[in-house]
């Protein structure tokens, strides 16, 4: 009986610690994880520029551009949600907020490309704006790594 009681007490203590750790929310998005998230955003923006370049040059198939924009836009949205839901490591809140904003911006641009996959003018604009979004993402990475941006 006393063994059972000890087991139950131990299990309760373990569950309580896990709950408190989860509830505290401290550091569930480390600086490295945030960095990786921002790098993913930069990669998505770079890939989006290639897709948009095809649209701008009338050198693609509109179904391809639309599906790619939908897929990449979904990835950007997912990244935005992941970053927004997590609690950033102390001192990186500003970068986290900036990253969420860039992710939203990239997702919006993909949405525009998805709507106009055969429009060269929109393709050109989206390409330009994705380039700017990539630069913003790279600036966040630079700040996180302590470089001057």
């Amino acid at each position: 009986m006393s063994g059972d009681k000890r087991f139950r007490t131990g299990a309760f203590a373990l569950l309580l610690s896990l709950f408190l750790f989860a509830a505290s929310g401290c550091g569930d998005l480390s600086k490295d994880e945030l960095n990786r998230g921002v790098e993913s955003l930069s990669a998505l923006a770079a890939q989006g520029q290639l897709v948009a370049s095809g649209v701008a040059r009338d050198a693609t198939k509109s179904t391809y551009a639309r599906v790619m924009a939908k897929t990449l836009g979904g990835e950007a949205e997912h990244e935005a949600e992941k970053l927004a839901d997590a609690t950033p490591e102390a001192g990186t809140e500003e970068e986290r907020d900036a990253a969420v904003a860039v992710a939203g911006e990239i997702a919006g641009l993909f949405s525009e490309l998805q709507t106009f996959p055969g429009d060269e003018h929109h393709g050109s604009l989206v390409q330009k704006h994705l380039e700017e979004a990539q630069e913003k993402a790279e600036a966040i990475t630079a700040r996180l790594n302590g470089e001057k941006s």
Partner: protein
Amino acid sequence: MKAIFKIALGIIAAIGGFLDIGDLVFDTQAGALFRYDLLWAVVLGTIGIAVYAEMTGRVAAVSGRPVFDVIRMRLGFGMGLVALVASTIVNLLTVAAELGGIAIVLELLFDAPYSMFVFAAAVALVAIVALLPFGGIERFFGYGGLALFVVVATAFHQEPNWGDVAAGFVPSLSSSSLYLYFVVGVFAAALMPYEVHFYSSGAIEEGWTEENLKENRLNAIVGYGIGGILSVALVVVSGYLFHPLGVEPNDLGTVALPMQGAFGETGLLLALGGMLFCVGGAAIDSSFAASYNLAQFLGWEWGRYQGPRKAPRFTASWLVFLLLGIAIAESGINPVEITEYSVVFSVVALPLTYLPVLLIAGDRSFMSGHANGPFATVLGWLYFAIIIVLAVAAIPLLLATNAGGG
């Protein structure tokens, strides 16, 4: 002249049937992450599949025994069953990944729901298998897959620094677990076990005898060799375009982007068309391989040439594997992720497939004058040693790198 034509057809089929979703994914990701540094691993894998395909084709032609017959004969029922279970899991995952791959390419071409295309792809495959003879199936997908030569044209069009490309063929190792994970992935993608299961059973389907040994050798060396060139080209175009931009190719559609960049819509359509045929051919090969293995291990009548009436359990099992593949592909798991797992897990199953083949192909009492010579013996054992090392490292690397996610 007729014999030369037949050999040429076989080589063409081997080239087109070499690339599957695993090669498309791993080669493109390897180029994006490490530029040309992993070209040596592509070459290593290509030589490996040519060596073992030649052996399995030779064993099949000389003895009339396909791979799983040989596995059960040399490993016995217990270990043979382990090999069967491992191979079946990997083959099933591969069927699902290839079906998902077909659906993704169709979605990119026609912009309709993915899930509808998974089902449509399976129906189309059943129709093709029902309507075409065995050789016709191979050639249908093989010729279509040749459209992927647009990747080679893209590599030349990009005009990379060929000195840097050449340096990538020199083997190099790094302490980075991500680099090592991709060494395993690129190597394993070339040596997927279903390829030899299908190749050896196909030799029996086509009635090969000792007279076909020259054809077997040419198919294996030239066919897989030129197929390897396609793989090299995938790494080069990805390394040239994606690496400097930091693009992470996590989607099958991204594989076609360099060809769009080089040749516009024509390049894009050729790339997507070639991918469709390659992945479709691999779906047929892997689903057939799963049924061949099961039927050969359990001693059922088997073979496409026998038809459903003479080989009902073989035919039924093929349909079941296809249905299970549909179920997995429709489950919502990204086919690229299924591919990564099937390729890495295949490494673990490789020794159980290749050891019995190596033993039988070198057995003079069984193969008489067609047993492995000194060169094939050394090469075979060298590759087996590499396979063992990679089989041990595969799962820890998969876990350490979060399946290549870093």
